[in-house]
Symmetry: C2
Subunit: 250 residues, 2 copies
């Protein structure tokens, strides 16, 4: 791992306690209570952690892709948690209280949507579908609707409106970008959180761990489905995504 003190924006930041180790990232405190230190791990999981493997360099690929995508979103005026990269695998982000909801947008049928509703895969969904899942490993991230999320106090009606507004703006921007690099964005998952002042912003990561990406020319998966479906080394697709984004965003 890297040095545990960095200078960032004229401020000395020291990595503190491990606050949380998730399936793909470690989250550390820093001496600034508003800032956390995220380390992208090489671990890849499927089936909510029941299948696990290490791919060296995968953390770096995801960190780089996330950084590119968050920077792109900033440049388009979208607020999010990302502050800056401090090494190949580590970044500083604004600490938020994560809203325990995964916000999924779907443009094509795939994955659970196919088995759940008995539809064919790779069918265009128009209008796009938006879904919420309750982030809970014990409960296997159950699918949830707005009314349930409100009644169970995960978010207010107003919070959901904000979240969907932000998700739609992110959607527009991501679809446009991936189209430019000949990739179809089938579906993806976002997370949102609250800053100390209550403002809701985009958080977590933006990487092929949380997106389904298909090469428009070859029809090949460039995301974690390669791992889920045991189709080879997922890093090949991630590397391709990174290279295309670097090309488009330079």
């Amino acid at each position: 791992m890297i040095e545990n003190t960095v200078e960032f924006d004229g401020q000395q930041l020291t990595r503190g306690d491990l606050l949380y180790e998730g399936k793909a990232k470690q989250v550390f405190a820093t001496n600034d209570p508003a800032i956390i230190w995220m380390h992208y791990m090489d671990q890849v999981t499927a089936l909510n952690g029941k299948v696990k493997e290490e791919y060296s360099g995968k953390g770096e690929l995801n960190s780089n892709i996330s950084n590119l995508l968050f920077t792109y979103l900033s440049n388009q005026g979208l607020q999010h948690h990302w502050l800056g990269s401090i090494s190949a695998t580590d970044e500083l982000v604004k600490k938020v209280d994560i809203i325990p909801l995964e916000v999924v947008t779907r443009h094509y049928t795939a994955g659970h949507f196919v088995s759940r509703f008995g539809v064919e895969p790779m069918q265009k969904l128009s209008p796009r579908v938006q879904e919420l899942y309750y982030k809970s490993d014990e409960l296997d991230d159950p699918f949830m609707n707005d009314s349930q999320a409100v009644s169970l106090r995960f978010a207010s009606e107003a919070d959901l409106k904000t979240v969907y507004g932000l998700a739609d703006r992110v959607n527009e921007l991501l679809v446009a970008l991936f189209n430019k690099v000949d990739i179809t964005l089938l579906d993806y998952k976002l997370e949102f959180g609250r800053l100390a002042d209550g403002q809701i912003i985009l958080a977590d990561e933006l990487s092929p761990d949380n997106m389904r990406l298909v090469d428009q020319k070859t029809g090949k998966s460039l995301d974690k489905d390669v791992f889920r479906q045991k189709q080879g080394d997922l890093r090949v697709g991630y590397q391709d995504v990174l290279a295309r984004l670097q090309g488009a965003l330079k």
Copy 2:
């Protein structure tokens, strides 16, 4: 079964082909294409039909309870499919194109909601929860959100608005009525359909097969949960519900 011709509202109606046999009712055509003939069966099912039993007189109880509840809703100005009872177990209803969505309202946690979200049973849900399920025996009636229902063309945004508006009005009226007879309505399922002219109205049945009802004094279930949980003869509770509604609505 009863005579297959009845006089209704000055019109001779003859029962025709069996159009559909569901888990609780048989649906027959009549000589009037706008009217169908519904027969309430004595069959009770659980786990989406995987558990089945006959309870003689159960069809009659449900038909009577449905008739009382639909009449009550009419008297409060709500539009629905029910035209009239023609025997102890049979009724005439307006034929609709059923929207393949079950609309569930929950006031207390129970059943799937409890296991799905890891909450305690019998907790008050405020605001009330509203859910959609895709009516599909093969797929086990999957839970679905508005965005999915719209994208899969089950209903338009405007249709859902109408459906939720009607569901909320029904909810208000049912909660008030059951409260008056010392019963707590935990949750229930409605179905809606489209008349030939496109109008969306309440359809199907209103019975303890599709509601969770709890006696406010004893805490006992008065609905199909008695069958699901093998707690005895469900007809005792259904009979009690019918008697109380007859008392309140006479």
